[in-house]
Symmetry: C5
Subunit: 91 residues, 5 copies
Protein backbone atom coordinates (compact mmCIF):
# COMPACT_ATOMS: atom_id res chain seq x y z
CA UNK A 1 0.00 0.00 0.00
CA UNK A 2 1.07 3.55 -0.49
CA UNK A 3 -0.19 7.05 0.10
CA UNK A 4 -1.71 8.83 -2.88
CA UNK A 5 -3.99 11.66 -3.79
CA UNK A 6 -6.97 11.41 -6.11
CA UNK A 7 -6.36 13.91 -8.90
CA UNK A 8 -9.06 13.18 -11.45
CA UNK A 9 -11.09 10.57 -13.21
CA UNK A 10 -11.21 8.78 -16.53
CA UNK A 11 -14.19 8.28 -18.81
CA UNK A 12 -14.18 5.20 -21.02
CA UNK A 13 -17.41 4.02 -22.62
CA UNK A 14 -15.82 1.27 -24.67
CA UNK A 15 -14.24 -1.05 -22.12
CA UNK A 16 -14.11 -4.58 -20.73
CA UNK A 17 -17.55 -5.71 -19.44
CA UNK A 18 -16.32 -6.30 -15.92
CA UNK A 19 -15.36 -2.65 -15.62
CA UNK A 20 -18.76 -1.27 -16.66
CA UNK A 21 -20.27 0.81 -13.86
CA UNK A 22 -16.97 1.11 -12.02
CA UNK A 23 -15.58 4.58 -11.41
CA UNK A 24 -12.01 4.95 -12.65
CA UNK A 25 -10.04 7.38 -10.51
CA UNK A 26 -6.66 8.84 -11.36
CA UNK A 27 -4.33 8.70 -8.38
CA UNK A 28 -0.83 9.98 -7.93
CA UNK A 29 1.54 8.66 -5.29
CA UNK A 30 2.59 11.00 -2.49
CA UNK A 31 6.00 11.18 -0.87
CA UNK A 32 6.24 11.36 2.92
CA UNK A 33 6.65 15.11 2.48
CA UNK A 34 3.23 15.19 0.88
CA UNK A 35 4.57 16.00 -2.56
CA UNK A 36 3.60 14.20 -5.73
CA UNK A 37 5.82 11.35 -6.85
CA UNK A 38 5.52 11.82 -10.60
CA UNK A 39 6.74 8.34 -11.33
CA UNK A 40 3.59 6.68 -10.00
CA UNK A 41 0.36 7.71 -11.69
CA UNK A 42 -2.23 4.99 -11.95
CA UNK A 43 -5.91 4.42 -12.49
CA UNK A 44 -7.53 2.93 -9.42
CA UNK A 45 -10.95 1.54 -8.65
CA UNK A 46 -12.54 2.66 -5.44
CA UNK A 47 -14.34 0.90 -2.58
CA UNK A 48 -14.45 3.68 -0.01
CA UNK A 49 -16.19 6.42 -2.02
CA UNK A 50 -13.09 8.59 -2.25
CA UNK A 51 -13.33 11.84 -4.18
CA UNK A 52 -11.00 14.10 -6.11
CA UNK A 53 -8.58 15.77 -3.68
CA UNK A 54 -8.71 13.04 -1.03
CA UNK A 55 -5.55 11.55 0.42
CA UNK A 56 -5.95 7.81 0.17
CA UNK A 57 -4.44 4.37 0.73
CA UNK A 58 -3.87 2.49 -2.52
CA UNK A 59 -3.21 -1.22 -2.71
CA UNK A 60 -1.68 -2.24 -6.00
CA UNK A 61 -1.83 -5.99 -6.36
CA UNK A 62 -4.17 -7.95 -8.55
CA UNK A 63 -5.35 -10.62 -6.14
CA UNK A 64 -6.11 -8.12 -3.42
CA UNK A 65 -8.03 -6.03 -5.88
CA UNK A 66 -10.15 -8.86 -7.22
CA UNK A 67 -10.97 -10.11 -3.74
CA UNK A 68 -12.25 -6.70 -2.71
CA UNK A 69 -14.73 -6.71 -5.59
CA UNK A 70 -15.69 -10.34 -5.04
CA UNK A 71 -15.07 -10.80 -8.74
CA UNK A 72 -12.21 -13.10 -9.72
CA UNK A 73 -12.52 -11.97 -13.31
CA UNK A 74 -12.30 -8.21 -13.01
CA UNK A 75 -9.13 -6.88 -14.65
CA UNK A 76 -7.79 -4.58 -11.98
CA UNK A 77 -4.50 -3.84 -10.24
CA UNK A 78 -5.00 -0.78 -8.04
CA UNK A 79 -7.78 -0.13 -5.55
CA UNK A 80 -8.37 2.67 -3.08
CA UNK A 81 -8.91 0.90 0.25
CA UNK A 82 -8.90 3.77 2.75
CA UNK A 83 -9.16 7.51 3.20
CA UNK A 84 -6.26 8.90 5.24
CA UNK A 85 -7.04 11.01 8.31
CA UNK A 86 -3.54 11.62 9.55
CA UNK A 87 0.07 10.65 8.89
CA UNK A 88 2.54 10.79 11.78
CA UNK A 89 6.19 10.84 10.80
CA UNK A 90 9.07 10.80 13.25
CA UNK A 91 12.03 12.69 11.91
Amino acid sequence: MYLARVVGDVVSTHKNDRLVGKKLLLVKKLTLDDEFDDSVEVIALDVVSAGVGDKVLVVQEGSSARTIFNDQKIPVQAVIVGVVDRVDIER
Copy 2:
Protein backbone atom coordinates in the same frame (compact mmCIF):
# COMPACT_ATOMS: atom_id res chain seq x y z
CA MET B 1 -4.24 0.24 -14.85
CA TYR B 2 -2.62 3.16 -16.52
CA LEU B 3 -3.17 5.49 -19.45
CA ALA B 4 -1.25 4.70 -22.61
CA ARG B 5 -1.22 5.33 -26.32
CA VAL B 6 -0.98 2.66 -28.98
CA VAL B 7 2.08 3.50 -31.06
CA GLY B 8 2.58 0.50 -33.30
CA ASP B 9 2.47 -3.24 -33.61
CA VAL B 10 4.80 -6.20 -33.63
CA VAL B 11 4.98 -9.04 -36.13
CA SER B 12 6.24 -12.38 -34.87
CA THR B 13 5.59 -15.51 -36.90
CA HIS B 14 7.64 -17.82 -34.70
CA LYS B 15 6.02 -17.60 -31.27
CA ASN B 16 4.32 -19.54 -28.47
CA ASP B 17 1.20 -21.37 -29.72
CA ARG B 18 -1.14 -19.59 -27.35
CA LEU B 19 -0.21 -16.27 -28.92
CA VAL B 20 -0.95 -17.30 -32.50
CA GLY B 21 -3.69 -15.12 -33.99
CA LYS B 22 -3.36 -12.51 -31.28
CA LYS B 23 -2.51 -8.97 -32.33
CA LEU B 24 0.51 -7.61 -30.48
CA LEU B 25 0.25 -3.86 -29.97
CA LEU B 26 3.05 -1.58 -28.82
CA VAL B 27 1.82 0.80 -26.15
CA LYS B 28 3.58 3.60 -24.38
CA LYS B 29 2.46 4.95 -21.02
CA LEU B 30 1.15 8.53 -20.87
CA THR B 31 1.70 11.02 -18.06
CA LEU B 32 -1.25 13.04 -16.80
CA ASP B 33 -0.01 15.84 -19.06
CA ASP B 34 -0.51 13.54 -22.01
CA GLU B 35 3.16 13.15 -22.71
CA PHE B 36 4.93 9.86 -23.26
CA ASP B 37 6.55 8.24 -20.24
CA ASP B 38 9.55 6.69 -21.97
CA SER B 39 10.20 4.31 -19.12
CA VAL B 40 7.10 2.23 -19.84
CA GLU B 41 6.92 0.69 -23.31
CA VAL B 42 5.24 -2.68 -23.46
CA ILE B 43 3.60 -5.07 -25.84
CA ALA B 44 -0.06 -5.52 -25.01
CA LEU B 45 -2.81 -7.78 -26.27
CA ASP B 46 -6.11 -6.18 -27.05
CA VAL B 47 -9.74 -6.99 -26.24
CA VAL B 48 -11.43 -3.76 -27.27
CA SER B 49 -10.22 -3.47 -30.88
CA ALA B 50 -7.99 -0.49 -30.18
CA GLY B 51 -5.95 0.90 -33.04
CA VAL B 52 -2.70 2.79 -33.48
CA GLY B 53 -3.07 6.32 -32.10
CA ASP B 54 -5.81 5.44 -29.58
CA LYS B 55 -5.55 6.50 -25.97
CA VAL B 56 -6.24 3.40 -23.94
CA LEU B 57 -6.47 1.78 -20.51
CA VAL B 58 -3.83 -0.88 -19.95
CA VAL B 59 -3.96 -3.45 -17.18
CA GLN B 60 -0.62 -5.05 -16.53
CA GLU B 61 -1.06 -8.08 -14.34
CA GLY B 62 -0.86 -11.69 -15.43
CA SER B 63 -3.95 -13.12 -13.77
CA SER B 64 -6.17 -10.31 -15.02
CA ALA B 65 -4.82 -10.80 -18.49
CA ARG B 66 -5.36 -14.54 -18.61
CA THR B 67 -8.89 -14.22 -17.24
CA ILE B 68 -9.83 -11.79 -19.99
CA PHE B 69 -8.81 -14.30 -22.65
CA ASN B 70 -10.43 -17.22 -20.81
CA ASP B 71 -7.13 -19.01 -21.26
CA GLN B 72 -5.18 -19.85 -18.13
CA LYS B 73 -2.19 -20.83 -20.24
CA ILE B 74 -1.66 -17.78 -22.38
CA PRO B 75 1.64 -16.05 -21.55
CA VAL B 76 0.57 -12.45 -21.22
CA GLN B 77 1.07 -9.55 -18.85
CA ALA B 78 -0.48 -6.46 -20.44
CA VAL B 79 -3.92 -6.10 -21.99
CA ILE B 80 -5.77 -3.11 -23.39
CA VAL B 81 -9.11 -3.13 -21.56
CA GLY B 82 -10.65 0.21 -22.58
CA VAL B 83 -10.51 3.10 -25.00
CA VAL B 84 -10.37 6.46 -23.20
CA ASP B 85 -12.93 9.11 -24.10
CA ARG B 86 -11.95 11.78 -21.64
CA VAL B 87 -9.63 12.43 -18.71
CA ASP B 88 -10.63 15.05 -16.13
CA ILE B 89 -7.83 16.32 -13.93
CA GLU B 90 -8.27 18.79 -11.10
CA ARG B 91 -5.23 20.97 -10.69
Copy 3:
Protein backbone atom coordinates in the same frame (compact mmCIF):
# COMPACT_ATOMS: atom_id res chain seq x y z
CA MET C 1 12.57 -8.92 1.26
CA TYR C 2 14.46 -5.75 1.87
CA LEU C 3 15.81 -3.73 4.76
CA ALA C 4 13.75 -0.77 5.86
CA ARG C 5 13.19 1.54 8.78
CA VAL C 6 9.82 2.32 10.34
CA VAL C 7 9.38 6.08 10.10
CA GLY C 8 5.79 6.68 11.15
CA ASP C 9 2.23 5.50 11.02
CA VAL C 10 -0.98 6.25 9.19
CA VAL C 11 -4.42 6.80 10.67
CA SER C 12 -7.40 5.91 8.50
CA THR C 13 -10.81 5.49 10.10
CA HIS C 14 -12.67 5.01 6.84
CA LYS C 15 -11.11 1.91 5.25
CA ASN C 16 -11.73 -1.58 3.94
CA ASP C 17 -13.23 -3.87 6.66
CA ARG C 18 -10.36 -6.34 6.52
CA LEU C 19 -7.94 -3.62 7.55
CA VAL C 20 -9.86 -2.53 10.64
CA GLY C 21 -7.74 -3.02 13.76
CA LYS C 22 -4.53 -3.39 11.79
CA LYS C 23 -1.73 -0.93 12.49
CA LEU C 24 -0.48 0.77 9.32
CA LEU C 25 3.21 1.57 9.53
CA LEU C 26 5.14 3.81 7.17
CA VAL C 27 8.41 2.19 6.17
CA LYS C 28 11.24 3.49 4.04
CA LYS C 29 13.74 1.23 2.33
CA LEU C 30 17.37 1.37 3.48
CA THR C 31 20.44 1.06 1.31
CA LEU C 32 23.29 -1.18 2.43
CA ASP C 33 24.95 1.98 3.72
CA ASP C 34 22.01 2.47 6.04
CA GLU C 35 20.73 5.51 4.19
CA PHE C 36 17.14 6.02 3.10
CA ASP C 37 16.25 5.00 -0.41
CA ASP C 38 13.67 7.68 -1.17
CA SER C 39 12.21 5.75 -4.05
CA VAL C 40 10.66 3.11 -1.81
CA GLU C 41 8.20 4.39 0.77
CA VAL C 42 5.32 2.07 1.53
CA ILE C 43 2.69 1.34 4.11
CA ALA C 44 3.25 -2.02 5.73
CA LEU C 45 1.30 -4.15 8.15
CA ASP C 46 3.18 -5.65 11.03
CA VAL C 47 3.38 -9.10 12.60
CA VAL C 48 6.42 -8.68 14.84
CA SER C 49 5.33 -5.65 16.88
CA ALA C 50 7.88 -3.34 15.30
CA GLY C 51 7.92 0.27 16.38
CA VAL C 52 8.90 3.61 14.90
CA GLY C 53 12.68 3.76 14.50
CA ASP C 54 13.18 -0.01 14.18
CA LYS C 55 15.21 -1.49 11.36
CA VAL C 56 13.09 -4.22 9.86
CA LEU C 57 12.69 -6.88 7.19
CA VAL C 58 9.86 -6.12 4.78
CA VAL C 59 8.34 -8.65 2.43
CA GLN C 60 6.41 -7.04 -0.37
CA GLU C 61 4.32 -9.63 -2.13
CA GLY C 62 0.58 -10.13 -1.85
CA SER C 63 0.38 -13.88 -1.34
CA SER C 64 3.06 -13.88 1.35
CA ALA C 65 1.27 -11.08 3.09
CA ARG C 66 -2.15 -12.71 3.08
CA THR C 67 -0.76 -16.01 4.29
CA ILE C 68 0.86 -14.33 7.28
CA PHE C 69 -2.50 -12.95 8.38
CA ASN C 70 -4.34 -16.19 7.64
CA ASP C 71 -6.79 -14.07 5.70
CA GLN C 72 -6.99 -14.65 1.96
CA LYS C 73 -9.15 -11.57 1.58
CA ILE C 74 -7.04 -8.92 3.26
CA PRO C 75 -5.84 -6.31 0.75
CA VAL C 76 -2.18 -6.05 1.61
CA GLN C 77 1.17 -6.03 -0.17
CA ALA C 78 3.86 -5.24 2.37
CA VAL C 79 4.39 -6.83 5.78
CA ILE C 80 7.11 -6.41 8.37
CA VAL C 81 8.31 -9.96 9.07
CA GLY C 82 11.38 -9.39 11.23
CA VAL C 83 13.31 -6.93 13.34
CA VAL C 84 16.96 -6.69 12.28
CA ASP C 85 19.65 -7.21 14.91
CA ARG C 86 22.70 -6.92 12.74
CA VAL C 87 23.76 -6.61 9.10
CA ASP C 88 27.17 -7.91 8.08
CA ILE C 89 28.50 -6.61 4.78
CA GLU C 90 31.76 -7.70 3.19
CA ARG C 91 33.31 -4.88 1.24
Copy 4:
Protein backbone atom coordinates in the same frame (compact mmCIF):
# COMPACT_ATOMS: atom_id res chain seq x y z
CA MET D 1 5.71 -8.53 -22.73
CA TYR D 2 8.47 -6.37 -24.03
CA LEU D 3 10.99 -6.28 -26.84
CA ALA D 4 14.49 -7.45 -26.04
CA ARG D 5 17.65 -8.71 -27.64
CA VAL D 6 19.50 -11.86 -26.63
CA VAL D 7 23.04 -10.78 -25.72
CA GLY D 8 24.60 -13.85 -24.16
CA ASP D 9 24.14 -16.85 -21.97
CA VAL D 10 24.90 -17.98 -18.45
CA VAL D 11 26.54 -21.21 -17.34
CA SER D 12 25.63 -22.53 -13.91
CA THR D 13 26.38 -26.14 -13.02
CA HIS D 14 25.31 -25.86 -9.40
CA LYS D 15 21.63 -24.86 -9.55
CA ASN D 16 18.09 -25.78 -8.58
CA ASP D 17 17.09 -29.21 -9.99
CA ARG D 18 14.19 -27.83 -12.00
CA LEU D 19 16.56 -25.66 -13.99
CA VAL D 20 18.91 -28.47 -15.00
CA GLY D 21 19.00 -28.81 -18.78
CA LYS D 22 17.41 -25.41 -19.36
CA LYS D 23 19.37 -22.87 -21.36
CA LEU D 24 19.74 -19.56 -19.52
CA LEU D 25 19.84 -16.63 -21.92
CA LEU D 26 20.82 -13.08 -21.07
CA VAL D 27 18.37 -10.61 -22.56
CA LYS D 28 18.38 -6.84 -22.54
CA LYS D 29 15.25 -4.78 -23.09
CA LEU D 30 15.05 -2.64 -26.24
CA THR D 31 13.48 0.79 -26.54
CA LEU D 32 11.20 1.54 -29.47
CA ASP D 33 14.22 3.14 -31.13
CA ASP D 34 15.97 -0.21 -30.98
CA GLU D 35 18.47 0.90 -28.39
CA PHE D 36 19.29 -1.02 -25.23
CA ASP D 37 17.43 -0.05 -22.10
CA ASP D 38 20.20 -0.63 -19.57
CA SER D 39 17.80 -0.78 -16.66
CA VAL D 40 16.33 -4.11 -17.75
CA GLU D 41 18.81 -6.97 -18.02
CA VAL D 42 17.43 -10.36 -17.07
CA ILE D 43 18.07 -14.03 -17.48
CA ALA D 44 15.31 -15.69 -19.47
CA LEU D 45 14.45 -19.24 -20.34
CA ASP D 46 13.57 -19.95 -23.92
CA VAL D 47 10.80 -21.89 -25.67
CA VAL D 48 11.30 -20.74 -29.24
CA SER D 49 14.97 -21.66 -29.76
CA ALA D 50 16.13 -18.06 -29.89
CA GLY D 51 19.84 -17.41 -30.30
CA VAL D 52 22.29 -14.69 -29.39
CA GLY D 53 21.56 -11.57 -31.44
CA ASP D 54 17.87 -12.31 -31.97
CA LYS D 55 15.22 -9.69 -31.27
CA VAL D 56 12.64 -11.38 -29.12
CA LEU D 57 9.41 -11.09 -27.13
CA VAL D 58 9.93 -11.59 -23.41
CA VAL D 59 7.13 -12.26 -20.95
CA GLN D 60 8.14 -11.60 -17.40
CA GLU D 61 5.58 -13.06 -15.05
CA GLY D 62 5.95 -16.18 -12.96
CA SER D 63 2.65 -17.91 -13.66
CA SER D 64 2.96 -17.43 -17.41
CA ALA D 65 6.45 -18.79 -17.29
CA ARG D 66 5.60 -21.90 -15.31
CA THR D 67 2.63 -22.67 -17.52
CA ILE D 68 4.79 -22.57 -20.63
CA PHE D 69 7.07 -25.23 -19.19
CA ASN D 70 4.18 -27.31 -17.85
CA ASP D 71 6.03 -27.32 -14.57
CA GLN D 72 4.37 -25.57 -11.64
CA LYS D 73 7.55 -25.92 -9.62
CA ILE D 74 10.14 -24.38 -11.90
CA PRO D 75 11.56 -21.16 -10.44
CA VAL D 76 11.33 -18.79 -13.37
CA GLN D 77 10.17 -15.27 -14.11
CA ALA D 78 11.17 -14.42 -17.67
CA VAL D 79 10.63 -16.49 -20.80
CA ILE D 80 11.30 -15.77 -24.45
CA VAL D 81 7.98 -16.48 -26.18
CA GLY D 82 8.57 -15.20 -29.71
CA VAL D 83 11.14 -14.09 -32.25
CA VAL D 84 10.34 -10.67 -33.70
CA ASP D 85 10.14 -10.31 -37.49
CA ARG D 86 9.14 -6.69 -37.72
CA VAL D 87 8.09 -3.74 -35.56
CA ASP D 88 5.91 -1.04 -37.09
CA ILE D 89 5.85 2.26 -35.25
CA GLU D 90 3.73 5.23 -36.21
CA ARG D 91 5.44 8.47 -35.35
Copy 5:
Protein backbone atom coordinates in the same frame (compact mmCIF):
# COMPACT_ATOMS: atom_id res chain seq x y z
CA MET E 1 16.08 -14.19 -12.79
CA TYR E 2 19.02 -11.89 -12.67
CA LEU E 3 22.72 -11.97 -11.89
CA ALA E 4 23.75 -10.83 -8.45
CA ARG E 5 26.56 -11.06 -5.96
CA VAL E 6 26.17 -12.07 -2.32
CA VAL E 7 27.55 -9.18 -0.27
CA GLY E 8 26.60 -10.03 3.29
CA ASP E 9 23.99 -11.44 5.60
CA VAL E 10 21.34 -10.28 8.01
CA VAL E 11 20.76 -11.41 11.57
CA SER E 12 17.21 -11.22 12.90
CA THR E 13 16.26 -13.14 16.01
CA HIS E 14 12.75 -11.74 16.25
CA LYS E 15 11.06 -12.77 13.00
CA ASN E 16 8.16 -14.67 11.44
CA ASP E 17 8.18 -18.37 12.48
CA ARG E 18 8.49 -19.64 8.95
CA LEU E 19 11.79 -17.84 8.55
CA VAL E 20 13.40 -19.32 11.65
CA GLY E 21 16.50 -21.31 10.71
CA LYS E 22 16.70 -19.77 7.26
CA LYS E 23 19.86 -17.89 6.33
CA LEU E 24 19.14 -14.38 5.07
CA LEU E 25 21.68 -13.27 2.48
CA LEU E 26 22.12 -9.76 1.17
CA VAL E 27 22.46 -9.75 -2.59
CA LYS E 28 23.11 -6.92 -5.00
CA LYS E 29 22.23 -7.08 -8.67
CA LEU E 30 25.07 -7.06 -11.20
CA THR E 31 25.06 -5.36 -14.57
CA LEU E 32 26.36 -7.25 -17.59
CA ASP E 33 29.64 -5.42 -17.06
CA ASP E 34 29.88 -7.05 -13.65
CA GLU E 35 29.31 -3.83 -11.78
CA PHE E 36 26.85 -3.39 -8.96
CA ASP E 37 23.42 -2.06 -9.85
CA ASP E 38 22.75 -0.02 -6.72
CA SER E 39 19.04 0.12 -7.36
CA VAL E 40 18.54 -3.57 -6.60
CA GLU E 41 19.61 -4.69 -3.14
CA VAL E 42 17.49 -7.41 -1.62
CA ILE E 43 17.51 -10.07 1.03
CA ALA E 44 17.37 -13.53 -0.47
CA LEU E 45 16.98 -17.00 0.91
CA ASP E 46 19.32 -19.64 -0.41
CA VAL E 47 18.91 -23.19 -1.67
CA VAL E 48 22.31 -23.78 -3.21
CA SER E 49 24.57 -23.01 -0.24
CA ALA E 50 25.94 -19.82 -1.77
CA GLY E 51 28.39 -17.81 0.26
CA VAL E 52 29.46 -14.19 0.52
CA GLY E 53 31.32 -13.16 -2.64
CA ASP E 54 29.61 -15.68 -4.91
CA LYS E 55 28.05 -14.63 -8.22
CA VAL E 56 24.56 -16.09 -8.23
CA LEU E 57 21.24 -16.44 -10.02
CA VAL E 58 18.38 -14.83 -8.11
CA VAL E 59 14.73 -15.48 -8.84
CA GLN E 60 12.48 -12.83 -7.41
CA GLU E 61 8.91 -14.03 -7.49
CA GLY E 62 6.84 -15.21 -4.56
CA SER E 63 5.32 -18.38 -5.99
CA SER E 64 8.65 -19.63 -7.30
CA ALA E 65 10.21 -18.96 -3.95
CA ARG E 66 7.58 -20.77 -1.92
CA THR E 67 7.64 -23.78 -4.22
CA ILE E 68 11.38 -24.16 -3.79
CA PHE E 69 10.97 -24.40 -0.02
CA ASN E 70 7.93 -26.68 -0.28
CA ASP E 71 6.24 -24.27 2.09
CA GLN E 72 3.26 -22.36 0.77
CA LYS E 73 3.26 -20.18 3.86
CA ILE E 74 6.81 -18.91 3.93
CA PRO E 75 6.95 -15.14 3.35
CA VAL E 76 9.64 -14.84 0.73
CA GLN E 77 10.24 -13.10 -2.58
CA ALA E 78 13.85 -13.67 -3.57
CA VAL E 79 15.76 -16.94 -3.64
CA ILE E 80 19.24 -17.82 -4.84
CA VAL E 81 18.74 -20.71 -7.25
CA GLY E 82 22.17 -21.12 -8.81
CA VAL E 83 25.84 -20.30 -8.55
CA VAL E 84 27.20 -18.80 -11.78
CA ASP E 85 30.24 -20.41 -13.38
CA ARG E 86 30.52 -18.26 -16.48
CA VAL E 87 28.71 -15.52 -18.37
CA ASP E 88 29.25 -15.23 -22.11
CA ILE E 89 28.28 -11.92 -23.66
CA GLU E 90 28.44 -11.12 -27.34
CA ARG E 91 29.24 -7.49 -27.92
